[in-house]
């Protein structure tokens, strides 16, 4: 449970990691390993979703925990520890050099996802939007979704991964990335439209 309280006029968030972090900061650095064990899977998943390759994801995990180890003393519990950790991970990820195989950093516009003038719009959602989800999702589709997300320009990919895969709220995502809530919403919407186009292509091809 997260409990917000006012201490010395500042908001402090007491979460499930509060005591562990306090203990580490009070000298029990040996306990840092517990934080690593608890969160390495999460940060590795995040790395795989952002980079697509295990070597890059491993680098991200290592850099993230090293930075956390160095700067934990400066963590003031103004957010949950987990959110601060993801903030470190996103910053690390944004600093990493762009891989040539990754999508170029470009803006996605709403217009590019709007149906063209005179284009025939479907009267009904296609089969892939109507069939039960568990009948639809298989390894091949999961791989296709992963690739579609990797194809997104990074700043859109990051918002989509944080919102739709890591499960953070719009407010948390905006706070982590130092962007406004409305900016987070705009990026998420365009990212989803982009992935939807890829899915349409996949299923049209399949049909």
């Amino acid at each position: 449970m997260t409990r917000r309280e006012i201490m010395n006029g500042k908001k402090t968030v007491r979460d499930e990691d509060f005591e562990l972090v306090q203990a580490i900061n009070n000298g029990r650095t040996d306990l840092f390993q517990q934080l690593v064990e608890k969160y390495q899977q999460k940060i590795y998943n995040f790395g795989m979703r952002m980079c697509g390759e295990s070597r890059d994801a491993e680098d991200l995990v290592q850099e993230t925990f090293l930075t956390i180890f160095r700067y934990l003393k400066g963590f003031r519990y103004e957010t949950r520890f987990k959110n601060w950790m993801y903030r470190v991970a996103t910053t690390t990820c944004l600093k990493a050099k762009r891989k040539p195989k990754h999508a170029p950093e470009r803006e996605l516009s709403l217009e590019e996802f709007m149906p063209g003038e005179g284009e025939d719009l479907p009267d009904q959602a296609p089969d892939w939007a109507q069939r039960p989800l568990d009948q639809l999702l298989n390894e091949e589709l999961a791989a296709h979704i992963k690739n579609a997300i990797i194809d997104l320009p990074k700043k859109y990919r990051m918002v989509m991964v944080l919102r739709d895969q890591e499960g953070f709220s719009t407010e948390e995502t905006a706070q982590m990335l130092d962007i406004s809530v409305s900016n987070a919403k705009v990026r998420l919407h365009r990212a989803r439209l982009f992935v939807r186009e890829k899915l349409k292509g996949y299923f049209d091809h399949d049909a």
Binding site: F32, N45, Q62, L110, P115
Partner: protein
């Protein structure tokens, strides 16, 4: 666009808000307007269903990746070295 029988601008305005609608981030009034439009407009209904399905697929496909065997050991060594 080829929407017949009603205002295209409504469809466009809705297209912009579709994610907020899916995420239940619209206020009650805006939400009711979208609900009503979607009931009346089969194109927007289809658009909504494919986007909702896209979100559901992204969520459901986000399983844990197998951790490389060596990673835990690397992390332990790295933190030990940094703590010295």
């Amino acid at each position: 666009m080829t929407h017949k029988g009603h205002d295209h601008r409504k469809c466009m305005a809705l297209f912009e808000k579709m994610s907020e609608y899916i995420d239940r981030e619209l206020d009650e009034e805006a939400r009711a307007l979208v609900d009503a439009h979607i009931r009346a407009c089969c194109h927007c209904q289809a658009c909504y269903e494919t986007l909702q399905r896209t979100v559901d697929l992204c969520r459901s496909s986000a399983a844990d990746y197998p951790l490389p065997d060596s990673l835990s050991e690397k992390l332990r060594a790295m933190i030990e070295a940094a703590g010295r």
